[in-house]
Symmetry: C2
Subunit: 317 residues, 2 copies
Amino acid sequence: MLKKLVLGIDVGGTNVKTALVNQFGDVLQRLNWPMEAMNGPEKFALEVHDKVSEMLQEAEFQWSDIGAAGVGLPAFLDIREGKIEQAVNLHWTNVPIVTLLADCLQVPVVIDNDANLAALGEVWLGAGKQSHSALCVTLGTGIGGGIVIDGHVYRGAATMAGEIGHIPIKWDGEICNCGHRGCFETLASATALAKAGQRVNLVSPRGVNQELTAEDVFTLAREGHVVASQVIQEMIYWLALGLTSVANTLNPDVIVIGGGVVLAGDALLVPLRKSFEELALPRVVRSCEIRAAQLGEKAGMLGAARLAWQYIDMNMD
Amino acid sequence: MLKKLVLGIDVGGTNVKTALVNQFGDVLQRLNWPMEAMNGPEKFALEVHDKVSEMLQEAEFQWSDIGAAGVGLPAFLDIREGKIEQAVNLHWTNVPIVTLLADCLQVPVVIDNDANLAALGEVWLGAGKQSHSALCVTLGTGIGGGIVIDGHVYRGAATMAGEIGHIPIKWDGEICNCGHRGCFETLASATALAKAGQRVNLVSPRGVNQELTAEDVFTLAREGHVVASQVIQEMIYWLALGLTSVANTLNPDVIVIGGGVVLAGDALLVPLRKSFEELALPRVVRSCEIRAAQLGEKAGMLGAARLAWQYIDMNMD
């Protein structure tokens, strides 16, 4: 029987985002709720069941309309075994999450990590549409990434492909949380930009008592603050240098940049493009567009839905 | 009709290597001849025809036994158009090589660049066998590379994927031929090792009048030369740093190292593995083996044959 819908579920450290999604990517119903990881994975699975039931009722659908559930997790996964190996922020280790959820929901469950599914979402419905080889990068506390080749997540040997936050960019740079020196995310994440602004004593335009954010630094630069502009320029150099490493390796046709700082728009993308053109190989530059992400915080949920549809496509006769 | 054989052709700057290869990778006949690029691509195509005819006769096969020809080229290619865009060492530009060869040989012709086909060869029959995601790196004058995912060459948007010789490794390093600073191949190629040895006045064990080579530096180190060991150690650090960038991005299950310096064996691979373990993400390290290439100068020719078999497989009913 042909199913009408899939579930897209994006599990975050603080929130769970869920949607009923048809095969065109239309969201027919959404529900978010707070993630309470400390109650453990069994309770979590029961809660997913209850919330989805609620959502189905509201939208006048049935469980039998759902063909599969895609789930994005902030975790290291063993995809073949359907297991969470470690979810640092959830404090979960060795959880057979696919079995748990499938038993509760009685629909097939497929999983991937959050960064990979955000990338898949952007390629399905957002800035990466129609690309053959997309690299999606999220600049946040760290730098996350996912690679989508011919419409499918490329995971590598241990679901680590696209985890570019710890590629070494500055051989003599500062030590990162991971213990290595000069990691990409110590130089080019939103946090890195905020810290660089704090180091030169920039003051948040939202008030002296507010901790300076990456967005604040862009606001200051837009208002003509020269030091803020310099801080951004330096961050963009490192961002372009890291993207050069990755793009010379992968030769993607699109690099999608996500995270709060893309709200800065051309103030970020235009100098980034310029710097990338100066650093990467000409043929790599010519075949690659750099675009701002379009789906915002919905990317992971929609990517999870896409993964569920791909599962259904693969398992149909 | 089922064909018995394919042609694997590896076009180099000085030599053309050709073989008749069956579907198991057995080489039934080989022929090498000097490449005379200055005679132009039309003459080259005629010569391929003559040499292959010779080879067929010797091995008692017919042209009708050949299902397709795979051709590796030292060039930037437009694979979709079947064109050489630029082959710097051959001084060829904008050559419709697929049409030229197919007209001459009267068999289907498929092309890729030499580094990609060397990678495909190693994954088919050499050090990358049974890998799902292999990165093959050749340390020579520069650093070449190819990526093979699920048995197929991953090319990226403009056949540049795996061209890791110019990823930026040392942000404040020396300017490379390509105009950028601190490229991987200025620090970790065979040439880079030889130059580093020359800078500290190492003398070739083959004689004072011999120009010091990378292999010489390994020989000196093996014989207990402390400075040679230090030079190697530094080169291996940069090699590991570059492979870390690429491996954190791709998460390959195998990295195959090729080129003359792998003859050094464990003197290269053991410290390289150690340095890689110190620099890359633990999950990336655990899921990745580093191996020496096994096919030597036959890798490209065998990869070309594999590409031809893949063409046949795709075009069979």
